[in-house]
């Protein structure tokens, strides 16, 4: 495989092309909707079981609206595993009153805390997967800019998106060149070679950074990134973006009033 094909960056691998309303929504609205909805979910006490049933339905509806196949969504949820391990330990390590579950006696508070972490993390992960699968990295950069994230951060993020594959391809070429001369990474004796390769890669990337900067200066760069004016959000786009956190908020309020 040539470097050209191998070079597709992480954002492109996450993106699943489509034309659903979730895909077409501007990135800044999607980001805002995702973050506020997750905040509502996180602010829900773990004991409000009906609320979580509502959030689950909302997450399923979101995946369905974005027309993302389960074989895309489910494997990506593996990122959650470390959190699950931690959450499963809580009932064992927790303090306070205990209840017997089979051969184990588990902490009641720990059970609730573990449950809360699992459901909230799962909701956050599903929402993030949908966001990443329906938003191209370029749109994400534009979205961050639109949300007035400090320009330096956006520029660094954009440069990373642009150059991660260039540096990756360089690393692969160096790896190939090492392998071609009989190198295998085995044991501490190979560490100095790997360390030196990493150092070389860093220097090369740094020097590339300097050259890119010269190219930017040559075309009038003075510190701020010029951008195209963005189209204003349409009413229906706003409605769609608001509907996601709004449903979560309504679920929260309804369940909360039931507990008064």
């Amino acid at each position: 495989m040539g470097d050209h094909q191998a070079g597709h960056d992480i954002g492109e691998r996450l993106y699943v092309p489509g034309a659903t309303i979730v895909h077409r929504l501007p990135a800044h609205l999607k980001l805002l909707a995702a973050v506020t909805t997750i905040l509502v979910v996180v602010a829900t006490p773990p004991t409000w079981l009906w609320a979580f049933a509502g959030y689950a339905a909302l997450a399923v509806a979101l995946v369905a609206t974005a027309k993302l196949p389960l074989r895309v969504v489910v494997p990506r949820m593996v990122v959650e595993v470390p959190v699950l391990v931690f959450a499963l330990l809580l009932p064992i390590l927790g303090t306070g009153p205990r209840i017997a579950v089979g051969p184990l006696t588990l902490s009641q508070a720990g059970l609730w805390a573990g449950w809360g972490i699992i459901v909230k993390a799962t909701f956050g992960v599903v929402t993030s997967i949908v966001l990443a699968a329906t938003t191209s990295t370029n749109d994400m950069v534009a979205g961050l800019r639109r949300l007035r994230v400090p320009d330096q951060f956006v520029q660094i993020f954009a440069a990373m998106v642009r150059y991660v594959h260039v540096v990756g391809a360089e690393a692969r070429r160096m790896n190939r060149a090492r392998t071609a001369r009989g190198f295998t990474a085995k044991g501490p004796r190979s560490w100095s070679v790997l360390g030196q390769s990493l150092g070389t890669l860093f220097i090369r990337s740094y020097e590339r950074g300097e050259r890119v900067h010269l190219a930017m200066l040559s075309r009038g760069y003075t510190g701020a990134m010029p951008t195209a004016p963005a189209a204003p959000d349409s009413r229906s786009q706003l409605m769609w973006a608001v509907s996601f956190p709004a449903v979560a908020a309504v679920v929260w309020l309804v369940v909360a009033s039931g507990y008064r």
Partner: protein
Amino acid sequence: MAGCCVGLSVTSPPVPAPALVVSGLGYDYPDGTTALRGVDLEVAVGERVAVLGPNGAGKTTLMLQLNGLLRPTSGQVSIGGEVLTDDSVRQIRQQVGMVFQDPDDQLFMPTVFDDVAFGPRNAGLADDQVNQRVALALEQVGMAAVADRPPHHLSLGQRRRVAIATVLSMDPQLLVLDEPSSNLDPSSRREVAEVLLALGRTTVMVTHDLPYAALLCPRSVILSQGRIVADQDTTDLLQNADLLARHRLELPFGFDPATLTA
């Protein structure tokens, strides 16, 4: 418009100012290494000139002087009659279109369109003007179809042509190209040459690819150890085997410069 009115001063001169005048240009790197020792070079409007020289001759250093990325230790650079100073450097960068050797250095924006629009937007052009400039520039290099693609999806030859478009969109008075043929396969090489010939713009091309210089530039200079040591018709220069050998320049195997005059 960048630089359209430079010649229209009160005492309007009968001939337009040369596109580029380098006079007595010397440059020492901060570590004390002397890279350029009194370079003189004049390029008339419409000319295409190759700057030839072996590795380490100072070609890249000279190139970086032409839009003020490096500043002379002695001597000066003028573009279209305007001397390069702290005050004029921003304007001069709009007038000197500099294309670097590695398109991955030149193309830093997420899409081809954004990259070609970078210069015009920095110049503060209105949006419809930017769109026009981008469309025209991409058309001139035959890359209009890839406007929405990310640069790393293109082949090296395509990226090199897009890199040329990124400066064409600024409508520069002077094109400066660093090794435009390097690492290209023969057909991409020819395609880039066709683009450059069709543009018909004032061009300074830094290279050690002698046949490419012969193909594109009627006039060549040799830069060696920080000095211009030859300045003549490219065909004549390439037939002077002694001169080339003295400055570590060599024609590729099988290339006969006599065929250029035939």
